[in-house]
């Protein structure tokens, strides 16, 4: 500690330890906040149409269009360590081969507490299609609204806010012109 450089060297050692302990304490404080918001999710309409695949326009496939109604209040999830909230709507179904499929249809990034009340009637952002190209042999799907809390410092946490009560059948594919 005899010269300025030596003092800077000595102080920075304890300073870096202190700031790491501070950030660890902030990360651990996230566990004190246990909010579990629940909301409502309704599927307004579900239609399946024949169309062309996006990448190979000469191939046919069936695409399903979902309109849904979400009403949830995510404000309890915003604590001092929440950076943003990733809210997403998922469709879960099992296909004829018994494989479980989960498809994200819509998502939203919520950055501030004031934007955390979600009350929308919307159509899906991303297409709902099956890998086999057809929804004919697919078991009915359940729709769930899930969220992912992203902290400033700490571990990510996930949760489910709403779920449709019964599985919903996929209707027969129609031609989009009609």
């Amino acid at each position: 500690m005899h010269s300025i450089y030596a003092r800077v060297n000595g102080v920075s050692g304890l300073w870096s330890t202190c700031i790491m302990v501070l950030l660890a304490a902030v990360a651990l404080s996230s566990f004190l906040f246990n909010a579990d918001p629940k909301g409502d999710l309704d599927i307004v309409s579900l239609k399946v149409f024949h169309s062309k695949t996006r990448r190979y326009p000469f191939r046919n496939e069936e695409i399903s269009f979902v309109k849904f109604n979400i009403s949830t209040d995510f404000t309890p999830l915003f604590n001092w360590n929440t950076k943003q909230l990733f809210v997403y709507l998922e469709a879960e179904y099992t296909n004829a081969q018994g494989v479980n499929n989960t498809v994200i249809l819509w998502d939203r990034i919520v950055r501030r507490k004031e934007q955390a009340k979600i009350d929308v009637v919307q159509k899906d952002k991303y297409r709902l299609r099956d890998l086999s190209g057809s929804f004919r042999d697919v078991l009915p799907a359940q729709y769930s609204l899930k969220y992912n809390v992203m902290p400033y410092v700490g571990v990510l946490s996930y949760g489910e806010a709403a779920r449709t009560l019964e599985p919903i059948d996929f209707p027969e594919a129609k031609d989009s012109v009609s």
């Binding site: 000595g10 102080v11 304890l14 202190c18 302990v21 304490a25 902030v26 604590n79 001092w80 360590n81």
Partner: protein, 89 residues
Amino acid sequence: MPALQELVEGRIDFKGQKKTDDIVRVVLITSTVLSFVVGFTLSSLKITLSTFALCTVALSLVVLPPWPMFNKHPVKWVPSQEHSPKSKG
């Protein structure tokens, strides 16, 4: 030139070094606890990190420059002696 060198070196005596060491330890640990508590009660991470940053700046202003309060006990050197032929025999 020696004046510039002294300015950059910023030497302080041993008692002053001990004093700076104590100040640094106390201030850093207190500011960690204080900034966590203040930020937690006011529910703002920005306040936590800015209190910590302010405490760091204040600490460096107190500890880094060679203030006169750290130079109050200069080292007392033993007076230099002439080389006498007596010490050989």
